[in-house]
């Protein structure tokens, strides 16, 4: 497996910028094939099931409003959740950041004298890098979701928030399982591989007395916690152990139990293209004789309250982690998830990750988008991702404006120069004259510019530029004033020519950023 040599880094503090991180993925044909296949399957299923819902848009509107209401009164709802959960026998902990959440969880595990723990897939735990921390502290965490087992045993990293191992194909899974589980004659048929995972985990489920989960929803009204899953590994972890620790972002709360009637109609259809996921569990504190008798919830802030305070960006916290945005994203489709250098990839990752780090890391992610808006269209809670991307781009640019490095940035210097030139007519005319002179040197006989020198090469690397027209608009306008009577008809023809988009060329129609000069 060639990808092994380029182990992806999903810690935004250490990961390379998106364009650098994307390169090995773009070169990995197998990975791109695996990702494209998975995206095609999920998208087709989702589209079919969304189409059969006549009230889909009304559900989206309600879901967005429910989350907005939650966020507007987040403190109250969290306190209500805490009160009701505690009354039902649960324990609620608050963690301001990742380090604190890890410490709380480890302390709870130490109190239980646990050296092993079984886990339900939780992206929030991945966000706080819980597994490596627990391992260093001598606690072995067993992932129980099939995709997470594949990644844990194969020492891989998640590339998607719902199907984290979609970049791994069946023969790669077979290799990982055969090697790590010591099974000699394991076929590469998904049924046999799934059975192998079932056998591998069965004893763990029956023996390990402590479990860690995430949460899909917290219900303020009842103090209940909801987990949505497919395999039954979640139910195993929620039912068999003595102690359950749930890690949940503070934005996961909904006001009332009945609000789930909206959220749960949207989630499975958006996430996996099913009318409903096989299992949805809700539990409230502890129930005598049924399930863990010791229950803890860790409420995690870790940058979320800073997102809450910004008007445009607040909607980021509506996210219910369905991954529909990445499934539909043309950028994600090409690069897969690892390029984003975060456990949250795709469009939602591009807005969530930099914000969780208050723009100290992952500043390249808001630019990892074509702003096509497909993510907004499919988002079940109507997060206007393009709007937030643009806002974050402005903030990143503002940040850079305050460093001396800006004087080495051709974009900054160029735009500052343009600022001066565009504000003085004579300078503009002079620059135009010089520009036309320069353009003549690089324009080929076919009327197109195929290669610009210096920083301009970045532009022409992937697209051709149309050569400048013979006459500027200014010159034409001046001429028209004197000769409009005779040439009215043909003049409008030429205006059309001059106004046509100079960046539109045959090359720009290509996909995937590869350059083929013969394409025309």
């Amino acid at each position: 497996m060639s990808a092994a040599s380029e182990h992806p880094i999903l810690d935004p503090a250490l990961a390379p910028p998106f364009p650098v991180g994307a390169l090995p993925m773009l070169r990995n044909v197998q990975l791109r094939k695996n990702v494209a296949h998975a995206m095609d399957v999920i998208q087709a299923k989702r589209a079919r099931l969304v189409a059969e819902k006549t009230d889909w848009q009304a559900l989206r509107t309600a879901a967005a409003a429910i989350k907005d209401e939650t966020l507007a009164h987040l403190g109250e709802y969290l306190e209500q959740f805490e009160e009701r959960c505690t009354a039902a026998g649960g324990h609620v902990h608050w963690a301001a950041d990742a380090a604190e959440a890890r410490r709380i969880i480890l302390e709870l595990l130490r109190k239980e004298k646990a050296d092993e723990v079984i886990k339900i897939k939780t992206m929030t735990a991945a966000e706080i890098q819980l597994n490596p921390f627990l391992e260093a502290a001598g606690v072995r965490a067993y992932e129980t979701d099939l995709a997470e087992i594949i990644l844990q045993l194969g020492k891989g990293e998640p590339s998607h928030i719902v199907v984290p191992a979609l970049h791994v194909n069946r023969s790669q899974v077979r290799e990982i399982f055969a090697r790590t589980m010591g099974i000699k004659d394991l076929p590469d048929d998904p049924k046999a591989l799934t059975a192998a995972a079932r056998n591998y985990l069965r004893q763990k489920f029956l023996e390990v007395p402590t479990a860690i989960s995430g949460a899909n929803f917290l219900v303020a009204e009842t103090g209940g916690v909801t987990v949505v899953e497919s395999e039954g590994n979640g139910r195993m972890c929620l039912t068999l152990p003595k102690t359950m620790i749930t890690l949940a972002g503070i934005e996961k709360v909904v006001p009332r139990f009945a609000d789930l009637e909206v959220m749960l109609q949207l989630l499975a259809r958006s996430a996996t293209g099913e009318r409903m996921n096989p299992y949805t569990s809700l539990w409230t504190g502890v129930t005598k004789g049924d399930g863990p008798q010791n229950f803890h919830v860790v409420l995690l802030d870790n940058g979320r309250s800073s997102i809450l305070g910004r008007k445009t960006e607040r909607q980021t916290l509506r996210c219910i982690r369905c991954a529909a945005c990445m499934n539909t994203c043309p950028v994600y489709r090409q690069t897969g998830g690892h390029a984003y250098g975060s456990v949250y990839p795709g469009p939602i990752g591009a807005i969530l990750t930099p914000q969780l780090y208050e723009l100290r890391h992952a500043q390249s992610l808001p630019f990892a988008s074509s702003l096509c808006g497909a993510c907004y269209e499919v988002c079940p809670v109507k997060i206007n991702i393009p709007e937030i991307l643009i806002d974050l781009r402005a903030r990143v640019t503002d940040q850079e404006r305050h460093t001396l490095g800006k004087f080495f940035d051709p974009m900054y210097v160029g735009l500052r120069a343009a600022n001066v030139i565009f504000s003085r007519a004579w300078l503009f005319h002079a620059a135009q004259w010089m520009g036309r002179l320069g353009a003549k040197l690089v324009t080929r006989r076919d009327g197109w510019i195929h290669a610009l020198p210096s920083v301009g090469a970045k532009w022409t690397q992937t697209r051709d530029l149309r050569g400048l027209p013979k006459q500027t608009f200014h010159a034409w306008w001046a001429e028209r004033g004197t000769a409009s009577q005779q040439v009215g008809g043909s003049a409008s023809q030429r205006v059309g020519d001059a106004a046509s988009d100079p960046t539109l060329s045959p090359k720009s129609g290509e996909k995937g950023g590869t350059t083929s000069r013969e394409a025309r």
Binding site: H37, L74, R198, E231, A258, V262, L282, G285
Partner: protein, 248 residues
């Protein structure tokens, strides 16, 4: 433990600062009172989605069956007086012999029924050990509700539905659903959760434990190929008892 309360205060203060509630509610910090004010805004949430279905009884039942089958669940129908026989037929066809059941299943499901005698062993769960439940090959339960729109069976883990673990470990689940328990849409299930019939006024009646089952356990984690049966039951069988007049 002061660090603990400090974090709570820190997080809540950050949230209140962000939502602007700090200024508005500085006088009293009473969770119940503030949640009360929030409830006003909650009532204004636009709910233009379908909250009540418009299908006839028989169409609803057809829909429920169709959706269950799409999940690879086996569905059979029977009249109330034929239920014990239907259960017996299912058990016999399963090729399994050791079953568990919650202690609260109605007596008419098994009293005088053939399956109680013909070589089947059924243990009622009066606090069985996990190991004993793991030995069972199948489980027989009732349910709280069925949702036709998504083919979902809802368990509230009452006396006839049992503890969560008994519908989890056995590989084969036989669930008895009465047609009067089947609603068309998900919001109608949430209506049934409120005994008072008025939303927001019956919170003491809301279920503490809920499991929704939509087909047998499954995964699509390897190349998006749907595989039935991972950790939960691999087989879901449903007996629909026709206890409603059709056409209404």
């Amino acid at each position: 433990m002061s660090a603990v309360t400090d974090s709570r205060k820190k997080v809540l203060e950050a949230i209140h600062a962000a939502t602007g509630a700090a200024a508005a509610g500085s006088a009293t910090r009473n969770a119940a009172a503030t949640a009360g004010t929030a409830a006003g805004a909650h009532a204004d949430i636009p709910r233009g989605y379908v909250r009540r279905g418009d299908m006839t009884v028989s169409a609803r039942h057809e829909r429920f069956i169709e959706r269950l089958r799409e999940y690879d669940a086996e569905v059979v129908e029977c009249e109330p007086e034929g239920l014990a026989a239907a259960i017996a037929t299912q058990l016999a066809a399963s090729g399994r012999h050791r079953f568990v059941a919650p202690p609260g299943i109605p007596a008419e499901w098994y009293v005088d029924a053939a399956w109680k005698i013909e070589g089947f062993e059924c243990t009622f769960d009066h606090g069985l050990e996990t190991r004993e439940i793991e030995q069972a090959e199948g489980v027989i339960t009732g349910c709280f509700c069925g949702v036709a729109d998504s083919g979902t069976i809802v368990l509230h883990h009452g006396p006839a539905e049992g503890r969560r673990v008994i519908t989890l470990l056995p590989d084969w689940h036989l669930c008895v659903v009465r047609l009067s328990q089947v609603v068309e849409t998900l919001p109608e299930y949430f209506d049934r959760c409120q005994v008072s019939g008025v939303r927001g006024q019956g919170e003491e009646t809301l279920p503490k434990l809920v499991t929704w089952i939509s087909g047998p356990s499954a995964t699509a984690d390897i190349e998006m190929t749907r595989i039935k049966g991972v950790h939960g039951p691999r087989f879901l069988h449903v007996i629909l008892v026709n206890d409603e007049e059709a056409g209404t």
